[in-house]
Each structure stands twice: as structure tokens, then as C-alpha cells.
Symmetry: C2
Subunit: 217 residues, 2 copies
Amino acid sequence: MEAALELAATTRSLANLGLREVARHAGLNPNTFYRHFKDFDELGVAMLRDLGTELRAGLRERRMHPAARGFRLSDIGDPATGLDQAQELARESVGLVLDFVMEHREAYTVGIRELHGPSPVMRKAMQDLLEGIARDMTEDLLGVLKLPAITPEEMIEIARVIVRQMVFFSMDYLEQPERHAQIKRQAERFILLLFWGALAARAPELIVQSGLRFPEL
Amino acid sequence: MEAALELAATTRSLANLGLREVARHAGLNPNTFYRHFKDFDELGVAMLRDLGTELRAGLRERRMHPAARGFRLSDIGDPATGLDQAQELARESVGLVLDFVMEHREAYTVGIRELHGPSPVMRKAMQDLLEGIARDMTEDLLGVLKLPAITPEEMIEIARVIVRQMVFFSMDYLEQPERHAQIKRQAERFILLLFWGALAARAPELIVQSGLRFPEL
DNA sequence: CAAAGAGGTATACAATCGTCTACCGGCAAT
DNA sequence: ATTGCCGGTAGACGATTGTATACCTCTTTG
């Protein structure tokens, strides 16, 4: 699995790297592959399972780590501090995801490649992973962020588009190291825009009453 | 090029289909390939150029076609009708893109596969294509939609995230025909959310004054 | 009218591929 | 104490691959 990851990250996609090639790079006999996997799809799913759980666990752990969070759970209540929290949360989460991507660029690259790749099995597995991350995020947001008038259904939908958009932002981040700061800003602005939009859609007068302005990032 | 498109759409990605395979499927001698392209990258870029210009032209043409548009350019002015226009525009554009994707599912599938694929050349070409579409959209939006306090810089940034998000919505649309209506609604809601957010970020009082409510899609 | 080039073909070669059959050491369980 | 499985190896197979060289036939250009 390590050999496959290394090979796939540098050159090809998971689907089209050769059985013998992987075995050679792992220092094993080609036939040994069959002792563990029947397909290359099976290998891919196994890799994705490992890396996916690592990713979700990493995100959750860091999200739960209270030291990095500048506000307390008791601050919740009105939409003004809600939007303030949203900004803080966006800043934190964006940095967290992008850091993670940088630390696991091989796994990320290969994984995303399979998201739109030729194998339906891998595609489904990746979509499930993203959906799981979106659900984690929703749960977390609902627990911490109190924006009134935003239903759980709206929240999961917002989380989904955020996760998917972060796929692209992460790609930019990996490919253009010189634009790191700018990409972070763009991602934060995007997330904030969604929350402002969601609040404006349900209770625009709350925004006016609070006197809060959209932050210049 | 036709042979490559057909083969890539059904099974593999562009990068890993064989020279001989394509030649066979096209009814040509393997060596004939070299008369036209040096690389497979070169083939890919050529295909993307053709299909990309077709896509952009198709989108532009349909966007310019005034018959499908329920409002006139003279209706512009205040943010209330601006948001109304945004809704109409979102509905139209989403339907337009998703129709196009359905009609060109092979080309779309292959193209998106290259967006995150192993070839840097193809990746760059696809990113440029998406950027071009985003610029087209921005130009169009700025010309038709008069939402005050939204700068061109904000508009292009919004267009970019819309285009990227539509990549995912299009994938859903192709893969889940039974959810067509729902996916359309989600895409429209997403776009509207961004515009409401952008307006709320700059001029929340205008939303309150207009008395407009976020539409239940 | 000749030269050049563009598009296509035939043959050949070494390399790589996935997979099949057979063999082997170690460890665990009966 | 032996049976059986698990992980690994060896060798061989036919198929397919990318590419090189050489030859052919139109069309265009000088």
C-alpha cells in the first residue's frame, strides 16, 4: 500500500499503475499481491479506508482541541456573536484543513484523483468519505455555532458545499505555494459568505440590528 | 480524437489508454498517430481545445439568447429586482449547464477526469478552461445583474466558486438521474445563497428595506 | 515536371504486462 | 505430531505495449 501510494502520487493514477510495478517498488514478488488483494480496486478501497479514517480522526481531534479556539461555548446566543464565531471557526477550520493537506499531499493527491476517476468503486468510496466529513462538520457546527433560523438541513447542505469547495482550494494550495495567504483568505471569505447568506435569507433584520460588518479579510 | 474520447469515457482516463488501442478503435495504423501528435498530452490538449471552445460558445450563445430570459435589461436598478433577477439567472444558468452536461456527458466526464488527473499539462488546460468560463460568467453578470455594492473583484470570485461547485453538481446530475430535480434546486439555492451573502455583507439594510424573502425552492 | 511533404501502412523488436501452476518455510491448531 | 493455512517465491505463458525503420501514394509547391 505504501508503494502504491508513492508511485501513484508521483506519476499516474491508482487505476493504471501496474501490478508488477507496485510489487517491484515494494520489493516483493508480483504474485504476492494476490495474497492480499484480488483487484486494484480492492487495494484502493483499503488505502482509502485507512487514510480516510486518519483524516477524519485528525480533523475531529484538532477541532475538539479547545486550546486553539478563542471563544467559549457560553458565548453563544445572539447572531452577532454567532457570526463572529463563524469567522473564527472558518479561519480555524480552513487553516486546519490546508495544514493537513500539506502534511499528507501524496494521499490527498491520489485520493482526489480517484474522486473523478474511472473506477466507480473508488468514486463511491471517495464520495462517502467527503459526505462523512461534511456530517462531522455539521455536527460540530450545530454544537458550537448558534445561528438562529438556520435549520440542520440547511447546515448539512452548507457543509457539503464547503467540503467540496475545499477540495479545489486545497488543490490550489498544493500547486501554488506562493499564493498560500491569498488562498486562505479566499476560502475564509467563501465560508463566511455562505453563513451571511444563510442568515440574510432567514433573518436579515438581525444582521442590521447587530450592526456587524462583513470583515475585510 | 473521436476514438480517444469514446474509449476514455467508457473505461479509463485519457492518460492511460494505449496508443494502439486508440488507433485500432479508429481503424488506423498505430504509427499514424505520430503523424498528428507527438504525445498523448498533445492529443488531450487538442481535444480539450475543441470541446472547450464548443462549451464556452454554447454557454455564451444560450446566455445571450433573449427569448429564454423573462426580464429585460431595463428592469435593472434596485437590489430587490436585482435579487429577483439573480434568482431567474440562477435558475436559467443551472438548467443550461446541466442540460449541456447531459448532452455531452462523454466529453464532460473525460474533461473533469483530467482536472485532477496525473498530467500537469492537462490539469493546467482544464483550469484555464474553468477560469475562462468564470470570466464569461462574470462579464455576463456584471452586464445584466445590477446588485449595488458588489465589486467586479467580488463578482469574479463568486463566479469562480460557482463554476467549481457546478463541477460537482454536474457529476451528481450525471450519476443520479433520479435526483435531477433535487440537484437543480440545490444548485440554485447555492448560487442564491452566495448573492444574498454578498449583498448582506455590503448592504444588509437594503435587503430589509426591500422586504424580499429568500425563495423556497 | 520534379521535388517535397503530408498521411497512411507493414514489419519488426524489445519490454512489460497480468496471470497460471507449482513449490516453500513458518506458525497455529487439532 | 501432523495437518493446513498464510505470506512469499520461481518460472513460464501469451498478449499487448511503444517505437523504430522502411515503403507507398497522393497533393502541393517550386
